[in-house]
Subunit: 228 residues, 2 copies
């Protein structure tokens, strides 16, 4: 499903060059549950942006569902992304002037889903993450963990075949975090959804079947999750 | 140092009323290391905003260093806050158009510290949190955990007597998080800095001498940190 080869991402700011990714290669099959771990600044979010088709690499190749992503037009890319992926951003990236419901409806608006159906599906997604009573709240009227859950609901509402989640339980207490991880687990085991998540938490990584370890923009490990 | 009595905070949005804090009472002495824990949406950040003089309660009283905070003028309040407190926000709240260095200099600009000294102290604070090589980067050129460390450096740069930190290691890998907690521990034990932090992580809470547990805007526990 996902084939990444020698992926490079370099940021240039005047004289300074940051090599966020320095040649990363791996493959992920449909139905896998993969965790990405590594120190702060090691390239995890950069890698997620590549996989999520939100950013283009400086070098190397990325194939998603057999398609070379760099060969696609912007339009075809947006369409592939909307159809296939659900993304939970590290900083949530909610629209501040939209309500929780409107934020979660966004992916369905993009897909042309009719409004009654869209509203219904968004309500369900919000209820699943425990935010069913906050539909009309705006992000700045919600706690950090509540905002994170809105972002998770938005990633799920389009029933994507791949969920990319950048530290999806970072702002959640243990009990709520466990509920969200159980949800991802069900989607993975029962519906075959491919889950790729970034985490610093070994407890979260244990839900995955496989852990990719990153350090300084390089893959330094690819194996089972940390033992207890 | 900190005396909170029957603190109430109610948010009204049209017909909906959210009771974020429903009458919270406790006292914290100079030199204590306190953790605040509780479910997502339970009122922790709201309580931190009260203690940090960033928000006024709807009811009850709050005394800081013997002064009733609600009796102060805005000016006197800002001055007390700048002199006494260092705050790490849950969402970091960095100025997006300022560099890391400029962001960390802010509290010292407010205090009228001369520019050479200010720059020097900001550099030291950034080096202490491992961000010494990113002085000229802007927040959107930094990873989540790097931004969080800038926010921590900014809270420390004024050598405050009280540090308020809302989930200060949420975006950090285990090793970096442990470095930050060791830093807070040194400031507390060696320099007598009062540390009050919100966390979801029992590992972090164990650095504290005392844990205040919140649920639905009410204090439900006040005792030692969770056992291993
Ligand atoms: N500006 C606001 N307007 C309306 N309601 C608010 C506002 N800020 C917070 N709330 C509500 O007050 C309650 C407490 O929020 P608070 O941010 O203190 O929770 P928290 O314990 O910090 O949660 P988390 O662990 O998710 O960060 C929540 O129900 C939240 O939705
Ligand atoms: N827009 C940008 N411009 C310049 N440098 C950047 C940019 N975005 C990220 N970087 C740098 O690229 C490196 C990797 O960043 P990335 O966000 O992928 O790290 P991360 O592993 O997600 O870290 P964290 O765990 O702290 O979220 C970091 O050194 C970061 O400073
Ligand atoms: Mg990141
Ligand atoms: Mg909070």
């Amino acid at each position: 499903l996902i084939v990444v080869r020698e992926l490079v991402r370099t940021y240039r700011m005047g004289e300074v060059t940051v090599q966020a990714l320095r040649g990363v290669s791996f493959a992920i099959d449909q139905g896998e549950f993969v965790a990405i771990m590594g120190p702060s600044g090691s390239g995890k979010s950069t890698l997620m942006n590549m996989i999520g088709c939100l950013d283009a690499p400086s070098g190397g190749s990325y194939q998603l569902a057999g398609v070379e992503v760099s060969a696609l037009s912007d339009e075809a890319l947006s369409e592939l992304r909307a159809r296939t992926l659900g993304f939970v951003f590290q900083r949530y990236q909610l629209l501040p002037r939209q309500t929780a419901l409107q934020n979660v409806e966004m992916p369905l608006i993009y897909r042309g889903v009719p409004s009654a159906q869209r509203r219904w599906r968004a309500r369900i997604a919000l209820t699943i993450v425990g935010m069913g009573e906050r539909l009309d709240h705006r992000p700045n009227q919600l706690s950090g963990g509540q905002q994170q859950r809105i972002a998770i609901a938005r990633a799920l509402v389009g029933s994507p075949s791949v969920i990319l989640a950048d530290e999806p339980t970072g702002a959640l207490d243990t009990a709520t975090g466990a509920e969200i991880m159980a949800l991802f687990q069900r989607l993975n085991r029962i519906q075959g959804v491919t889950v790729i998540l970034v985490t610093h938490d070994p407890e979260v990584a244990r839900y995955a079947g496989r852990v990719l370890r990153v350090r300084d923009g390089v893959l330094i490990g690819d194996g089972p999750p940390p033992a207890r």
